[in-house]
Structure formats: structure tokens, C-alpha cells
């Protein structure tokens, strides 16, 4: 039986559909992420699952039981809130014990479980602290422990990492994944940060304008996106419009503004000639290609460089890893000569490109 089964969930605010016909199934022990740009309805969905917001339509089943009309306190879900909202007038231990106290767990058992939960999140011995005295990462852990200690069927996480800096976010992502495995709890993680969602999740659903547009394992969504929106939202793909000029099994040759590109097509029934092609920045190789263009923008990104190349009016994003052998910008600029050895993009320079991989995607909103 699935841990969570949602069918046809809908909610409108003042006549505007915030969430429309959302259906989801989470298997027990799964790390599932719901991602999408801000305002796509993902937090609204989460609040309905938690019971903090009444849906206009649809059903929510937790572990097979219909909980649609139950208030938050009678649901086997717990939530880690955005900005955490720890109780500032309680100690760490009191925060973590709160849910257990409400469900009538006797005090001795409460104390053991709180200690276990704090150990699980690596905060053993922090029980008597004030939440205000903790660092951002530690507060994260308290929020996680406060929810997890109740042993929820589904743990709902509402962008809890949004306020952390990049390094801490990476650390917490690994921690979330470890804690999720150790506690064997089903996680439903909501975020606009596709990077963290992809690195943690077993499966991801992409939301847009109140509905889910695609779902699947992160690798599938990234390498074979079905729609233009998903391709662009997950990892900055460039999407070009074009005409199919030839097909060979699953591969189609597409004439785009930039030139001819071969693209794989999942949806073999898509026989319309006007198509869109998604190209990932890392799927483009510089030099000895059929496409030529001019670098119009270049940016240094640390271990890689990124350039925008204008190919006959179409703008392609190209990434090139910097070799480990110390090709700093200064060295590169004095390097000169052979373009294949020049590790630096120069604005205004003509380059030739080869597209290694491309995917046909549906245009439109779907």
C-alpha cells in the first residue's frame, strides 16, 4: 500500500486556481520531491496534505485511510516548515517533545524518544539549549527532529533549506538523505531548487501553474525531458524550434535556426513536423562541428566557463570544464593561437559547435 495517495486535488483562492487536479502516489520509504517555480502551487499542495488548508476538491489517503476531512492534528503527517518556526519560548527538548506530549505519550517515554531523535539528527546533548542560541544548520536539525520524533507516515518538508548558504545547504542535503534512510520515513520535499531536489530524490514531480507536468526519477527527467518547460527548468537547457527534415528510428534530424541537429524522440507518435529541441549546455562540444556562431557573452563559473553563443539568431548556452592543470584566465589569454587549446571564451569570437545530444520536447504548456 502506498504511503500517500492523492487524487484530483484542487484549491482556488478568490477564483484563481492555485492547485488543479494534482494526483500523486508516494511509495513507503521514498524520497519524493515536488519542484517548480515560485507560485506554481507546490506549497499550497503541501499545506493541504498537512491538513492546514482545506482542499476544494480531491482526496488524500495516507496509508490507505482517507484523511481529506481530518484536521492537521489527526493526520499521520508532520511538517518541517519554511523558516522552521521553532517555538521560541521552549527549549530544544521541549520543541521536540511537543508533538509527543500532544498525542499523550507518557513523560518517561517522551524523554527517551526525544533523546533518540536528537541523536538521529546529531544534536545529542543539545536538549536544554534555547533555539535562538543555535546556528542555522542546528536549527534545521531541531525542526527535522521535532517532526520526525512523531514517527509520521509522511514527512512534509517545505523548502527548509532555502535560507541556508550554499555550503551548509549541501551538507544538509546529505544529512536529509542519511536521516531519511536511517528513519525509513517517506519524505515529500517541496522546493524551487532543482539542484537539491535532483541530488536527494528517488523521484521528482515538476509543477507548473497548479498542475504536475512531468514526474519520474531525476535522471530520466534531466536526460529525457518531455516538455520544453521541464527541459528549461531542470538545468538550463536551450530550446530551439525547428522542422523535422528526416527520421531514423527514434532519432530525428531537425533543421533549426542554428543549423541541423539530431535529436532523440521518446514520443514516437509525435509526427508533426514543427518541433522543439532541447539542448543541454554540457551536450555541446566546441570545435569541429557543423554549427558556427559568435560568442556574445562569457562567464567564469569556477570549475567551468559558460558562454552564450549566437548561432544564426538562436542563442545556445555552452559550458566548458576548465582543465585541472591551472588554466587560469591570465594563462589562457596569453595562450592564444590554436582555438581548441584556448580554454577561455572570448566575446566576439567565432566558434564552431557540435551538438552531441538533443531531445525532442513538447512545446506548449502540457
Amino acid at each position: 500500500m502506498s504511503a500517500l495517495a492523492v487524487e484530483g486535488l484542487g484549491k482556488a483562492f478568490a477564483g484563481e486556481h492555485a492547485v488543479e487536479d494534482v494526483s500523486l502516489t508516494l511509495e513507503r520509504g521514498e524520497f519524493f520531491s515536488l519542484i517548480g517555480p515560485s507560485g506554481c502551487g507546490k506549497t499550497t499542495t503541501l499545506r493541504m496534505l498537512a491538513g492546514l488548508l482545506d482542499p476544494d476538491s480531491g482526496t488524500i489517503r495516507i496509508d490507505g485511510t482517507d484523511v481529506t476531512d481530518r484536521p492537521a492534528r489527526n493526520r499521520a503527517t508532520n511538517m518541517v516548515f519554511q523558516d522552521l518556526v521553532l517555538f521560541p519560548h521552549m527549549t530544544v527538548a521541549e520543541n521536540v517533545a511537543y508533538g509527543l506530549a500532544r498525542s499523550g505519550v507518557p513523560k518517561p517515554e517522551r524523554q527517551t524518544r526525544v533523546a533518540e531523535a536528537l541523536d538521529l539528527v546529531d544534536l545529542g546533548g543539545f536538549g536544554e539549549r534555547d533555539p535562538a542560541d543555535l546556528s542555522g544548520g542546528q536549527r534545521q536539525r531541531v525542526a527535522l527532529a521535532r517532526a520526525l520524533v512523531n514517527d509520521p507516515e509522511v514527512l512534509l518538508l517545505d523548502e527548509p533549506l532555502a535560507s541556508l548558504d550554499r555550503a551548509l545547504r549541501g551538507e544538509m542535503q546529505r544529512e536529509f538523505r542519511r536521516i531519511q534512510r536511517d528513519s525509513e520515513t517517506t519524505f515529500l520535499y517541496v522546493t524551487h531548487d532543482q539542484e537539491s531536489a535532483m541530488s536527494m530524490s528517488d523521484r521528482v514531480a515538476v509543477m507548473r501553474a497548479g498542475g504536475i507536468v512531468d514526474r519520474g526519477p531525476p535522471r530520466r527527467l534531466y536526460s529525457r525531458p518531455r516538455t520544453r518547460f521541464v527541459a528549461e527548468f531542470l538545468g538550463d537547457a536551450t530550446v530551439l524550434d525547428g522542422e523535422v527534415v528526416g527520421r531514423n528510428g527514434e532519432t530525428a534530424v531537425v533543421e533549426t535556426q542554428a543549423g541541423r541537429v539530431s535529436a532523440t524522440s521518446e514520443t514516437a507518435n509525435d509526427h508533426s513536423d514543427s518541433v522543439a529541441v532541447a539542448i543541454r549546455p554540457e551536450a555541446v562540444t566546441l570545435g569541429d562541428g557543423d554549427l558556427t556562431g559568435e560568442v556574445v557573452d562569457a562567464a567564469y563559473k569556477g570549475f567551468y566557463e559558460e558562454a552564450t553563443v549566437d548561432c544564426g539568431g538562436a542563442r545556445l548556452t555552452v559550458r566548458r570544464e576548465r582543465s585541472a592543470g591551472g588554466s587560469t584566465v591570465q594563462e589562457a589569454s596569453t595562450d592564444g593561437g590554436d582555438p581548441s587549446r584556448d580554454r577561455r571564451f572570448r566575446v566576439g569570437k567565432s566558434v564552431s559547435l557540435r551538438v552531441d545530444r538533443a531531445v525532442l520536447v513538447e512545446d506548449g504548456d502540457g
Binding site: P71, M79, F81, V85, F87, H89, S103
Partner: protein, 277 residues
């Protein structure tokens, strides 16, 4: 340079600070010396503590506690609604409507209730004419009318003070408590009450002593038989011209007020909140 600046800072700050101190403490000192009388003895205090006056003292403190409690009971739901449920554009209107009595002379406010509650007043006229009552209610000049007047006059202070606290109350804390299994009552006890206790404490500090020591409202709306401290003080000054006794009675009252506030601060929860100030 730095020390000169600091000296200037001190000079600028010391003037107003001394003035505030003088205005606050100096009259009290004068009053205290007066209370000891020419013989600098405790005679006035002995009299002020006699059973005759003790009754008035405890009654005054009791009225102060009860009316403050009623004001808080009314202000909690009202300010919660205003700060968290009322549509933003009506908020100011609601707040102004609730605090309107602040801007009127409070003797007038008391007399408004005489007019409302009198035998031939608005309430009785309407109720008797509508056939709800056979004969007019005798509410005026009782503790009920006095309490109504008190609440009417002091509620605005409590509402304003509580509103500030209530507005700062984080809604998400309530959602978190509900998510963790709290009923509405638990949300109130565990989140709303502790987060708004500073506001309630501030409101209590503002109105409690003023109610317990009020003169006009008990005189105008209260029963002549129930004597509050202020009447005794006024009597001592006006009728007996005994300033020393009036001063001693005031000091005993001050101590009683402070002692009753200290009792309130004995609650661990109140103490914990107060420590944050």
C-alpha cells in the same frame, strides 16, 4: 577627542534624565515626608492600616484585579481577530473605533453610562417598552454599573497594548502547533498566551493601579456603600484637611499595588516572560 565627545554625550543625556528623575521621585519624597507628619512618627500609618481602612484597600485591589481580568478577557479575542482575521483595510477603522473613548473626557464617559443605565435611561426604556422587562432594571449605582464604566474606560488601553503583541504573534507558530497535534485550546495555551504575555503584562501595569485607585468612576457609577481608596484620600484632604494621613494612605495603597503585582510575578511563566525584557 573621544573623551570630549563622551563628556558631551553625558551632558546632553543627564539633563532630561535628571528632570525625569526629579519629576518621578521628588514628589514622592515630599509626600513621604508629609506622611510621617510633624512628629516623624508612624501614627498616620497605624491609622491607615486599621481595619476601617483595610476593608477599602482590599476592596480597591479586588476591583482592580477583577476589572483588569475582564479587560484582558475581552481584549484577547478582539485583538486576535483584529490582527489576524480582520481584512487589512478595515483594521485601522476597527482599532480607531475601539479606542475612541481614549480621546473623550472620562468624566463625560462615566456620565454617558448614567444616561444609558438609569431607571429612565436608554436600556430600560427600550427593554420595558419592548415588553422584555416588567419594570426597569436597577443597575445604576451598583457594582455592575461601576464595572461597566471601568471596562469601557480602560479597555482601549488594554486593546492598544495587546494589539501590538498580537500583531507580532507569528501565525506559522500556530500552524506548527496544529501540525504537531495541538487542539485549539492547546494552541492558545502553548503558543498564543506565552507569545502575548508581555503585552498582557504591559496592559496590566498600565491599567491595574489606575483602576484600583480610581476616583471618578466609583463616585459616578458605583454604589455609595462600596468605598474605594481614592474616596478616602480625597476625604482626608478635603474634609479633614489631614494631608499627612492622605499621604500615608496613598503609600499604603502603593505598597499594596506593588505587592499584588509581585504576586502576579510569582507565576513561573510570567517570570520567564518578564526576564526577556
Amino acid at each position: 577627542m573621544a573623551t570630549a565627545e563622551r563628556r558631551l554625550d553625558r551632558l546632553v543625556a543627564s539633563g532630561p534624565a535628571l528632570l525625569a528623575l526629579a519629576l518621578g521621585v521628588f514628589p514622592l519624597l515630599v509626600l513621604f515626608v508629609e506622611s510621617l507628619g510633624p512628629g516623624l512618627g508612624p501614627a498616620n500609618y497605624a491609622e491607615a492600616l486599621s481595619p476601617l481602612y483595610r476593608g477599602a484597600l482590599t476592596y480597591s485591589i479586588g476591583v482592580g484585579v477583577a476589572v483588569t481580568a475582564v479587560c484582558l478577557l475581552v481584549a484577547y479575542p478582539v485583538t486576535y481577530w483584529l490582527a489576524h482575521r480582520c481584512p487589512a483595510r478595515y483594521r485601522l477603522v476597527g482599532l480607531v473605533a475601539l479606542t475612541l473613548p481614549l480621546w473623550l473626557n472620562y468624566v463625560v464617559l462615566n456620565y454617558a453610562w448614567v444616561w444609558i443605565l438609569a431607571r429612565g435611561g436608554v436600556v430600560n426604556a427600550v427593554l420595558v417598552n419592548a415588553g422584555v422587562l416588567g419594570q426597569p432594571l436597577e443597575v445604576l449605582y451598583t457594582e455592575v454599573s461601576m464595572a461597566l464604566g471601568f471596562v469601557y474606560i480602560y479597555l482601549p488601553y488594554v486593546v492598544l497594548t495587546m494589539y501590538v503583541s498580537m500583531e507580532r504573534l507569528d501565525q506559522r507558530l500556530m500552524a506548527a502547533a496544529r501540525d504537531l497535534g495541538a487542539t485549539n485550546l492547546r494552541v492558545f495555551v502553548d503558543v498564543i498566551l506565552p507569545r502575548t504575555l508581555p503585552g498582557a503584562a504591559a496592559a496590566t501595569l498600565i491599567v491595574y493601579a489606575r483602576i484600583a485607585g480610581a476616583f471618578a468612576t466609583p463616585e459616578i457609577l458605583g454604589s455609595p456603600g462600596n468605598v474605594m481608596v481614592a474616596r478616602l484620600v480625597v476625604q482626608a484632604v478635603r474634609e479633614y484637611i489631614d494631608y499627612g494621613f492622605a499621604a500615608a494612605l496613598s503609600f499604603v495603597f502603593l505598597v499594596a499595588v506593588l505587592a499584588s503585582l509581585a504576586v502576579g510575578a510569582l507565576f513561573p511563566r510570567v517570570r520567564r516572560e518578564l526576564r526577556q525584557w
